[in-house]
Amino acid sequence: MSDDPRFTPRAKDGRAPDVFRPGAWVPMRQHSDDDEVDFVIVGSGAGGGTLACKLAEHGFSVVALDAGPYWRPLEDFASDEAEQSKLYWTDDRISTGENPLQLGSNNSGKAVGGSTVHFAMVSLRFRPEWFKSRTMLGYGFDWPLDWREMWHYYREVEDALKIAGPITYPWGPPRPRYPYRAHPLNAAAMALARGCEAMGISWTETPIATLSAPRGLAHPCVYRGFCVTGCSTNAKQSALVTWIPRAIAAGAEIRDLAMVGRVETGPDGLATGVHYHREGRWRFQKARNVVVAGYAIETPRLLLNSANARYPDGLANSSGLVGKYLTVQANQAAWGKTEAEVRSYKAPPSLAITEHWNYDDDKDFFGGYCYMSQGPLPQLWANTQLNAHGLWGEPLMSEMQDYNHQVGLKIVGEMMPQERNGVTLAEDKDQYGLPIPRVSYSWCDNDKALIAHSLGFMEKALQAAGAKDIWRQEDDTCHLNGGARMGDDPRSSVVDADCRSWDIRNLWICDGSVFPTVGGVNPSLTIQAIACRTGDRIRQMAASGAL
């Protein structure tokens, strides 16, 4: 039998891998499939991992299933881009539309801890107005959440992840001091800072989920730079090394290599548990509540695929909005070369940021964007040159000679939610025999206007910072959100503010797919804040008998 965690589950026999010690284990409470647990959670990333921790700490019995392997970063991760693509969700998917998404590296993950195992760690709060963007800014949809309450939960997550951030944040209402201090800027971040200062806008150190001081058994960041291919030192505060160890210590069970195929409902229309595939066979875990936390493609896919006679359009889909309004974020970049060496791959890639255009409303388009310094690893950079300029062979070789001099700025930009963008089921089947998702995406005019504005501005900023040979990378997108959005009205949303589905009261959705709009910042902090809030709300509802 193989001991490769990609093929053999590690979390079983009453123990789970100890992520902090090579080869070691921690004891884990285990449930049998026939135990009707309080909560079965599908997915263990920013949404599911966080919620598993909160619910277990509130005393509920919890089983969290993840389709991916259970890594020990200290021994399983290599400083090698190709090897580390094992962290991405690369199962078959059909990507279509006018601007089909490139799925894999920067928008998915298949591991215990989800895509936080290889996220860029950028941990930003939403601009308060975005929670009411329809009312206050005139576009998109209002969230059913109040920003002040979210401010409280942001704080909880920032403290749980010991976010390293600036002493004072230049934009938005005051926030408490970040638990850890900002990291030193690398040369790429200094280039962003110089550009901003020349353009007369504010910049700051990016609040980032990698340690700037020791924490328990985790070491501070060594600026190795392989962040987005998996941190091998545990400095990165992913769900795998934060929420999940806490969840296990509080009595939760994590099951790796457990792919959920269907949510089952009973004669009363309530969810009764989930069918999942593990160790070569389909099994059924009974549960009093089911939480779907598979992110913006797998969550709608699972709900749609769980259709039955009672719910022919899929679960929680009386509004018809499951799989609709998938909204990604723009991820365009401007690149240039500088005289001095930059070596931008040193240290976390996005150490400096400006949110200026998130908070400035004097623009001729809706939404906003932030931009950050960049640090592409060599293979990614060669791919970028190939895709953008068609370089190959000798020209690619000579271009790569300038790798140490590359400097770039990249946006995370708000795209508009559109009904036509979304997830449906295709005819084709994957390795589990489940219909694969078809993901359709098209940009609207507002998206294009935002992208044009950002590229123009970043070009000028790069020029001001002294870069030459500036060019635009125009086709990239990142983070997936929406597809099962939250709202105040069962007719126009899938879940309520507590992430509880309007249709089935013991079915919950807790991940980025509940976002009605996406804002111009990376979503992970908001996903975790929502999960913390949901955990607390579930405890309150349980106490008052409203569960």
Partner: protein, 354 residues
């Protein structure tokens, strides 16, 4: 976790402290343990070892308490040549500790900065010379100032001021200018003043040693004891600022990181009080607090050694983590300054109005 950390840090510190004490106490022909301990703690020598007094005890000396008697502290004697030399040699020792701390710290940090600017070699040379001058002074039982030592100490004092200018320039030319990011990670603003302090302490040693019959020792025209107390008090405050800034950078992740921003400020306040308050013979709280602060300087090395261990690869990866972790040579600055404060107390207790 935190308790375990603190415990390990404490054990390490004790080990290093004992080692440091052993090193400091070396150089004499194996005196008895109690005497050596008294010496380390900068106590006045026991009566038996005491050099012959030039003056008899004055009227009005306070009687000795039992603890004082056991420790062999004499009733405050009038100042004499031997007492001056003793105080001066203690100051040489303080200056030497500070210079040694600067030598190692600047070597480590400037190596880390790849000696990008040739001026970065300066503190190494100057602090090495100051260390040599201090060792020489420590061994010198003669009264009267030494011209070479005086010159070196003066150069050290000037170097610190110039270095602060260089460091400020480095901070200001980084994006953001005078901002937290650059105070944390640019050239450390407070560090060069440590070499100035070594220079000042050394200069003070030469002043105190300078023996003019019938005159009380003076520094810059002011009573030496009070002046020294003020200088070491201010020096401790400056060092607290530096430790406070860098421990804030480390987010005080270990509760022990609060020690150097709580204990030494109290020592500093006591010293400033000593400098300004009416003459008083028995300042035992100040004395003990300074001894604790001196010990904290050594303990800090132990804590920092544990901090190095907490970086990726720990001590196995020493070549990176010595540069990356908390600086081992930094905390003994507190020891040097606390010992200078103790020397000031000695002067004051020898002659209350010195």
């Amino acid at each position: 976790m935190t308790t375990k950390q603190a415990g390990m840090g404490l054990l390490g510190s004790l080990a290093v402290g004992v080692l440091g004490a052993a090193l400091l106490g070396r150089g004499r022909a194996a005196p008895p343990v109690r005497q050596r301990l008294l010496d380390i703690l900068a106590l006045p020598p026991p009566v038996a070892r005491q050099v012959k007094r030039l003056h008899a005890p004055r009227l009005g000396d306070t009687p000795r308490g039992p603890l004082q008697r056991w420790l062999g502290i004499p009733p405050s004697p009038a100042i004499g040549r031997a007492a001056r030399v003793r105080a001066a040699r203690r100051l040489n020792r303080s200056a030497g500790l500070l210079a040694g701390s600067v030598l190692l710290d600047s070597a480590l940090e400037h190596y880390r900065g790849s000696f990008r600017n040739p001026a970065m070699y300066t503190p190494l040379g100057v602090s090495a010379l100051s260390l040599a001058a201090s060792l020489h002074g420590k061994g010198d039982r003669h009264s009267g100032r030494h011209p070479f030592r005086s010159a070196i100490y003066a150069a050290a004092a000037v170097t610190g001021i110039l270095g602060t200018g260089f460091h400020l320039y480095n901070i200001m030319r980084r994006p953001g200018g005078f901002a937290w990011q650059n105070l944390f990670y640019g050239a450390p603003l407070g560090a060069p003043m440590a070499i100035s302090l070594a220079g000042l302490m050394g200069s003070a040693a030469e002043h105190v040693r300078d023996d003019r019959p019938g005159m009380a020792p003076r520094i810059f025209g002011l009573p030496a004891g009070r002046m020294l107390a003020a200088m070491s008090g201010a020096g401790i405050l400056g060092t607290v600022g530096e430790a406070g800034l860098l421990h804030f950078r480390g987010a005080y992740h270990n509760p022990a990181m609060f020690l150097p921003v709580t204990m030494p400020p109290a020592a500093s306040a006591l010293l400033l009080n000593t400098a300004l308050a009416p003459a008083r013979r028995n300042r035992w709280i100040t004395r003990w607090w300074l001894r604790l602060t001196a010990l904290l300087g050594f303990a800090g090395v132990g804590f920092h050694a544990y901090g190095v261990q907490r970086n990726m690869g720990g001590w196995r990866n020493w070549s990176q983590n010595l540069l990356n972790g908390p600086p081992l040579p930094a905390p003994p600055s507190f020891t040097g300054l606390a010992l200078a404060g103790l020397a000031a107390l000695d002067l004051l207790e020898d002659e209350p109005d010195a």
